[in-house]
Amino acid sequence: MKTREHAPRVGAGAKRGGGKTRARGAAALAAVIAVAAAAGCGSNSTSGSPSGSATTNKASTVTDTSQCGTKPGVKATGTRIPLGGIVTNQPGTSFTDIANMASAYFTCVNNNGGINGHPIKYYIETEQTNPAQVAADANKLVQTDHVVGIVGNTSIIECSVDHSYWEKLGYSIVDSGIAPECYSTPNSSAVNMGPRYSSDGAVQYALSKHVSKIVFDQSNVPGTGYIAAGPSALAAAAHVPIAQLTENVPISDASSVAIKEVDAAGPNGAVVLNFTPPEALVILQAAQKLGLENRVKLWGCSTPCNTDFLAHALGPKWNNKLFVNAELTPPDSTNSPAMNLYLAILKQYGKAVSGGVGSFSQMGFAEAEILIHALESVKGSYTVTSVNSAIKAVSDFSTGMLCQGWTYGNFPMHIPNNVDYTVTPDNGKMVTAQGCTPISAVDPQIAAYRKAAGTG
């Protein structure tokens, strides 16, 4: 566990005296070459990564970060408001960018007047998909750090493990959801749509293009049945056959996976992927190498594919061929005050946000925005009760990052982000292919939420 608070000779050789000096010399030289190569590449790995950096620099000149708070340039010195978040951070899966972006926003707020003069203290706990550890993290945040609000949670299992705990203690969590419980329980409300509803969006777009069949392929991990239920419902309602596939990850035979998908979809069908960007990339690249990209009508992907890294790696052959569901407003085509503030904060305070401009940092920004909005509405002292009541009272709040206003509300379930974009690669960048479109209420969970929220 990490807390952001603390961040800011054995005998055999004796017989071989003859070649010892030369051998050691060779080994030393080899080590120097290896270390030099690795060091050189470490620095290149950041600068060489494709991203919307040009957009970042241009836009960030429009808005400066003094707009974070009500007293530009004045550091908040009052009593600290402790907030916490739990994120997965393990080899191959890291969501720290989301919490780090929220932290960047809070730092900006603290440097510009704070919340009515009070600085926010944000504690970030990291976990490695260990239920006991996740439960202990929640316990620590409550009992040791005495946090009054939970924001920025992004974990593969946190919602499943902790939701009862939060409900019992009266915390209303603002998070980025992954597990079903992030959307189906009363005390968790996410700014993103998560894998199921994002897959719904991708399938919905494919169906709107009148494909004859859907092949929906996703990682073979716990929860696939829950995710698959949404696309299945949409395809059934459109009377289009759907084939559900799963792949063990990491994928070691992308060529055969791509062939299997294309064969199953047919020439007028669509292949829709629900994988992390690296896994989706290997499938799409394998398809391209084998000339399969045009053997189906279109390719679709849930939100994780919405990165310029992927668009850049794929190249122009996928322009208007791959359509990716985007849960958040595309930064490159938006010049709103909120988007400019996001870019400015990212530039000035977001050194720890390794992915730069993208969905993850946008989620962190939106979650921090919501918390700041809620905290500013608190009258009196900042307690668990007052802060979480304020969070729950957030209604139709414009984050600038979503298609519609964000509402928490006193509902048994929460899917406040249920209207989305579709983007497509355009010579190394993702651009908007379709504007805000509601996710179909054919998915019974979407229908249930809209009914509960009174928006259906």
Partner: protein, 297 residues
């Protein structure tokens, strides 16, 4: 059950993958023969070399120079490890030697996770010029990279066989495989021979890393653990026969990919190397090379 026509594309992809596994498997066997070390860091070394090549290419370095650095990195790291840890571990149990290379794997894996993070949706790919071209067999598209994958596997077997049988250094390596101490007393410079074996194995790791980064994925986790398939092929050959290693690797690649279109088995295809290695170890007669114990040494 899919038709024969449905299986054809999977034969091509399976052969290419098998060829790349063979490349790694042969490297493991040659190093084991010369030094007694089962080199579990093979995949991690190749992965890091490939990531370095990707970074260099992204920074504007010509492709050929980046690939060369990848190969040399593999040779340099492996040589450095072999020269630093080989002598102290020379008299230890084979298991200890293997576990020590696991340490190197973890170190490299950690460095890769630190330098080439996947945070924020970062994803990378190596594209070789040979990806663009190719030919069609029936309705199956074959890329030149897939041809190279298979050819590299065959090539490494032929070259290694010729090297071991017809060169002085190769003869010295075979002698060391039989008895290291006697070979040393006969005046063979064992350290130099070992160094050559370590460096050669590292170079093969670099080449395999580059090929697998293109054929499979440029991802630290994926490439690091792909060594399992190659190791299974080497175990089927009892860490001894290069030709059997090659054939086993091809079989693993083929069976793995041919299971893909079979709906009921597709999610179990990743078990292929384990199942084949387990069957081989149970069915084939025990071999003195891989059962050699500390007492015997």
């Amino acid at each position: 059950m899919p038709s024969w026509q449905d299986f054809q594309p999977f034969i091509v992809s399976g052969l290419a993958l098998g060829g790349a596994y063979a490349l790694s498997g042969v490297g493991i066997v040659v190093l084991y023969q010369a030094t007694g070390v089962v080199y579990l860091a093979f995949g991690a070394v190749g992965a890091m070399g490939a990531l370095i090549a990707w970074s260099l290419a992204n920074a504007g370095t010509p492709g050929w120079a980046a690939w060369l650095v990848c190969v040399l990195f593999g040779g340099a790291v492996t040589l450095a490890y072999g020269m630093s840890f080989g002598p102290p571990l020379a008299r230890r149990d084979p298991l200890v030697k293997a576990v020590a290379t696991l340490g190197l794997t973890l170190v490299l894996f950690g460095v890769m996770d630190l330098l080439w993070t996947t945070n924020g949706g970062q994803s990378r790919a190596i594209t070789l010029p040979t990806d663009g071209g190719g030919f069609t067999v029936g309705q199956v598209q074959v890329t030149w990279t897939q041809v190279i994958g298979l050819a590299a596997g065959i090539g490494i077997v032929v070259v290694t066989e010729v090297f071991l049988r017809h060169t002085k250094l190769g003869t010295a390596m075979r002698a060391m495989a039989n008895d290291r101490e006697i070979t040393a007393t006969l005046g063979v410079p064992v350290r130099r021979v070992e160094a050559a074996a370590w460096f050669g194995c590292g170079v093969i790791a670099g080449v395999a890393g580059l090929l697998l980064a293109d054929l499979v994925a440029l991802d630290a986790t994926t490439l690091t653990f792909l060594v399992i398939s190659s190791l299974a092929a080497a175990l089927i050959a009892r860490l001894r026969s290069i030709v059997v290693t090659f054939l086993a690797a091809i079989a693993i690649g083929l069976i793995h990919d041919l299971l893909t279109p079979i709906q009921s088995l597709t999610n179990y295809r990743d078990m292929t190397p384990f199942v084949l290695a387990a069957v081989a170890l149970l069915v084939l007669p025990r071999d003195p090379v891989i059962t050699r114990s500390r007492e015997e040494i």
